[in-house]
């Protein structure tokens, strides 16, 4: 109990003092996860929409594969990217290993399947409502994708938040490909892992509390924006 109490006090102190080291780490965490979310959205959402509208041989296999990839263990994804980006690996000349760029790639790889699979589910339901109307305008599946993405944007926000949550909470992959370098690739989650291993459990938990509050804030903000937009649209 005492530890929990001191973790809470430490969390408050960290925020109150605006601890510079922590703010830098927090900033990096947000930048990395948002960049990964951006990449994953550009790839994953259209892919999900296409799978919702198109019918082609092997579609079911792709859907099953995407659903399975949602459970890709972060360490495995991290290892794969590590070996690709290592100087001895095929993309070694990029010099990206142990940089924030490598962490962005790792998180993007982890959450792209999540965005694709979840958006397919959401948009498939929407497509069933719309299919008739869109077809009557003579719109093929390719034309239908942007329309679906636009009309489903409020539902897709939840999908994006799920992806962001997974990205910002992830530690196994980013610690491998980022190296947890102080002042350069240390994120909130790898800092939490480090403080835990140093035995400073209250500080580790305090950092965890701060991270949770930030993620809560991002979610609340997104929800608020959605409500405002809905009211305007409605």
């Amino acid at each position: 109990m005492q530890d929990l109490g001191s973790a809470f006090m430490a969390a408050i102190a960290l925020v109150r003092d605006g601890d510079a080291g922590m703010l830098a780490i927090l900033g990096l965490s947000l930048r990395v996860s948002l960049a990964a979310l951006g990449i994953a959205a550009v790839v994953g959402l259209p892919l999900g929409a296409l799978l919702a509208v198109a019918r082609f041989p092997g579609r079911r296999a792709v859907v099953v594969a995407l659903n399975a990839l949602m459970g890709l263990p972060p360490v495995v994804a991290g290892l794969l990217i590590y070996l690709l980006l290592s100087r001895s690996g095929p993309l070694g000349h990029w010099g990206l290993l142990f940089t924030p760029g490598a962490m962005v790639i790792a998180q993007a790889v982890l959450i792209t399947p999540i965005l694709a699979a979840l958006s397919r589910g959401v948009l498939e339901a929407l497509w069933e409502e719309y299919a008739e109307a869109l077809r009557s305008f003579g719109a093929g599946p390719w034309r239908a994708v942007p329309t679906l993405l636009w009309d489903g944007r409020f539902a897709l926000l939840t999908v994006l938040l799920a992806g962001f949550g997974r990205a910002s909470a992830e530690v196994g992959a980013v610690i491998l490909v980022g190296g947890n370098i102080e002042g350069f690739t240390r994120t909130m989650t790898t800092a939490i892992a480090l403080e835990t291993s140093k035995g400073d459990l209250p500080l580790a938990l305090a950092l965890g509390l701060v991270l949770m509050v930030i993620v809560l804030g991002v979610n609340a903000l997104a929800q608020g924006l959605r409500d405002v937009a809905l009211r305007r649209a409605g």
């Binding site: 990395v32 290592s86 100087r87 990029w94 142990f98 035995g199």
Partner: protein
């Protein structure tokens, strides 16, 4: 073209990075003991101030750090497992090895001390006692320098602890901190480097029980990764780091690092071997 754009895009995606990011830098693969004890936080800013070269430390176990060097993913290594370091040099991955500093290992255990080893001067005798009582012992089990030292000590004591595996001998395959956390939770014995022990906060009932045996010496060495094997390696900067840390300024910086007045690492640089 596409590749280059992709790469630049990734670099730009928010990574015109913190003000502290250095133009010139090396990647140093090292051990958790040197980073978590706070040594790097003390000496590296001095090196950067003197030379303008930043140091990005990736802290791993010694075995893993050497593997990072073998793949060319670091420019220099600062590790503590002499046999493994000499193997690394013999394989042509880098070198020469320079010795830098030492500290010592200590045997930690529960204050209740069921094996009765507190105050012993002979670490071999202490280990035999732990094995005889089948008292829980946590091993790093991660090919780190500390793990290698632990295995060597068991061997010198004439004991094969692996036979107690799954019962009293517990290999956790993790770093020094997690091993200390585990030992604290299970009231187990373990071998730790002194620096990590001193900086460790979650001791619970753990106490330092055995120290001072000459066999507990913990020697650190520094190596440059071979530019012949890995053309991407930053030879000049890595050499500047090695020259500095084995030279007067670096050695003085190491000697100057203290926790609560206690010196953690003792400089003892010598010519290459």
């Amino acid at each position: 073209m596409v590749r280059r754009h992709l790469r630049r895009g990734l670099l730009l995606a928010g990574f015109a990075l913190p003000a502290a990011a250095q133009e010139r830098f090396i990647t140093l693969a090292s051990t958790t003991s040197t980073e978590q004890s706070g040594l790097f936080g003390h000496i590296l800013p001095i090196f950067t101030r003197d030379t303008g070269i930043g140091v990005r430390v990736v802290a791993l176990g010694t075995g893993q750090a050497l593997d990072v060097g073998r793949r060319g993913d670091a420019d220099a290594l600062l590790v503590h497992d002499r046999a493994a370091e000499e193997r690394f040099v013999a394989e042509g991955h880098g070198g020469p090895r320079r010795q830098v500093m030492y500290n010592d290992f200590v045997l930690i255990g529960p204050a209740a001390d069921p094996a009765g080893i507190a105050g012993m001067r002979d670490v071999g005798e202490a280990l035999r006692q732990i094995a005889a009582r089948r008292a829980p012992f946590v091993s790093r089990g991660d090919r780190s320098g500390t793990h290698a030292a632990e295995l060597r000590l068991w061997q010198e004591a004439g004991i094969d602890p692996v036979r107690g595996r799954g019962q009293w001998y517990r290999e956790i395959g993790q770093g020094m901190g997690p091993a200390l956390n585990t030992a604290a939770a299970q009231e187990a014995y373990l071998l730790s480097d002194r620096g990590t022990w001193l900086a460790f906060r979650n001791r619970q009932a753990l106490k330092l029980l055995v120290e001072g045996d000459a066999r507990l010496l913990n020697q650190y060495g520094v190596l440059a990764v071979s530019p012949q094997r890995h053309p991407g390696v930053k030879v000049k900067e890595a050499q500047a780091f090695i020259d500095w840390i084995t030279g007067a300024a670096g050695q003085a910086a190491i000697a100057g690092y203290r926790i609560n007045g206690e010196q953690l690492f003792f400089p003892n640089a010598a010519p290459p071997n």
